[in-house]
């Protein structure tokens, strides 16, 4: 069956024929032979089947493989390796100590001074609790001597001032309320003195001291 001497010449051409790689003239010759030769038609069909089988078979084998990390792994190999951040910091610091010891030590000392001086400063500049403005700090309290009702002025660092009206003779809760009896009556009752016998100027004006009423963060 395979003994057709004409086939010998055509068999090697069947492979480039199925690949579409024959020049037009040769292709026509092969096709003419194929129409007349059943064996070579079968051989060409075998070659096509084999080609398809290889393609599909290899494709199947590749389908089993997970390529999810493939590109990542290649990229990791071609990208210069970077040590972890901490390691890099440690290396950089140790290099600095090696080569710039004095500069490093002096900058560390500066940093320490900054921390020691700056931190208490930062902490001391806190606004008192209860005063709405956060930048507000009471700088001074000035009691006015010789007045029954003494204003207490508190200056704030943003230019404002808070004035408290404080009754000199009252107990610390001076801002108790407005519905109190007149002041001199209360005095005479408490001290057992005639209000006429004493000059108003002699009323002891307590200096702002330990007995002075302290303003608290009450309602203004």
């Amino acid at each position: 069956m395979a003994g057709n001497p004409a086939c010998e010449r055509f068999i090697p051409l069947l492979s480039p024929y199925i690949d579409g790689e024959l020049p037009p003239a040769e292709r026509v010759t092969v096709e003419r032979h194929l129409t007349a030769c059943r064996d070579c038609t079968g051989r060409a069909a075998d070659l096509r089947a084999e080609s398809g089988l290889l393609r599909v078979g290899l494709d199947m084998a590749v389908d089993d493989v997970d390529f999810k990390d493939f590109a990542q792994k290649v990229m990791a190999r071609v990208t210069p390796e970077k040590p972890p951040l901490l390691e890099r910091l440690r290396l950089a610091l140790s290099e600095m100590f090696l080569y710039q010891r004095t500069a490093m030590l002096s900058s560390l000392a500066t940093a320490a001074v900054l921390v020691l001086v700056g931190l208490p400063l930062l902490l001391s500049q806190r606004a008192p609790v209860g005063y709405a403005g956060e930048r507000m700090t009471v700088k001074a309290i000035q009691p006015y001597a010789g007045a029954h009702v003494a204003p207490v002025v508190m200056e704030t660092d943003n230019g404002g001032s808070i004035i408290w009206m404080v009754d000199e003779q009252e107990a610390p809760d001076a801002n108790g309320g407005g519905a109190r009896p007149p002041r001199d009556e209360a005095d005479s009752e408490e001290l057992g003195m005639e209000p006429d016998t004493q000059a108003p100027g002699a009323t002891p004006a307590k200096p702002a001291g330990p007995g002075a009423p302290r303003p608290t963060g009450g309602a203004l």
């Binding site: 070659l47 599909v56 084998a61 990229m75 071609v78």
Partner: protein, 209 residues
């Protein structure tokens, strides 16, 4: 269906050269499957094929400056891949000795194979779903019997569908050599596969339901 045209290989190569690593990742993703398939067909070992595929891409990256750009990027990539595979096979043989080659002056005897057996069993384009795992393994076995240089040509032709011109450029051999090597490789694989199918047919005939 509108299809977004992918950036061509040479543009990506230029981007890689100017320091764009993502462009190289795109090239890897574009060719990883086919490079692996070539390596697997050459080496028959999955892990080795995976290592070689990675190695091929790493080498491509390393020598990208040597890539002239006068040939296609993929012919260069496959040349590197098949060269690494051939090196691995050489080491496997123990370093020495030439690989077995076909005597291409001898006429190929196809009379042993039953003409038309493969074609009648499989048709011209076997479907993946119809192909059994066993047969897929047999294909790799059959490939292993083909001398490596012939195997490389056959694989590049079937997997990448390379033209004879590209095959000649990739493997640095004349086009005539491509044609004859391909023919011999196919004859060898065909013989093994048709024998296997014939045996299989006989077996299933005996033990049939």
């Amino acid at each position: 269906m509108p299809h977004k045209l992918a950036t061509d290989d040479l543009t990506l190569v230029k981007r890689v050269r100017s320091g764009d690593q993502r462009a190289f990742k795109l090239l890897v993703e574009r060719y990883q499957r086919k490079v692996y398939a070539v390596a697997l067909g050459m080496l028959k070992d999955k892990e080795e094929a995976m290592d070689v595929s990675q190695e091929a891409f790493v080498k491509v990256y390393k020598y990208l400056d040597h890539f002239k750009g006068d040939a296609s990027f993929y012919t260069w990539l496959y040349r590197i891949t098949s060269n690494i595979c051939i090196d691995v096979l050489r080491k496997r043989r123990g370093g020495g000795g030439d690989p077995v080659e076909f005597d291409e002056t001898q006429a190929v005897d196809l009379s042993e194979a039953r003409i038309g057996a493969l074609g009648s069993r499989l048709g011209t384009n076997p479907q993946k779903s119809a192909l059994r795992k066993e047969l897929a393994e047999k294909i790799q076995e059959a490939l292993a019997t083909v001398p490596e240089k012939h195997r490389a040509i056959l694989l590049l032709r079937e997997i990448e569908g390379m033209s004879y011109e590209d095959l000649a450029r990739t493997l640095d051999i004349p086009k005539g050599t491509v044609m004859s090597r391909l023919f011999h490789a196919r004859a060898k694989v065909q013989k093994i596969l048709s024998d296997y199918l014939e045996l299989d047919e006989a077996k299933s005939g005996v033990g049939g339901e």
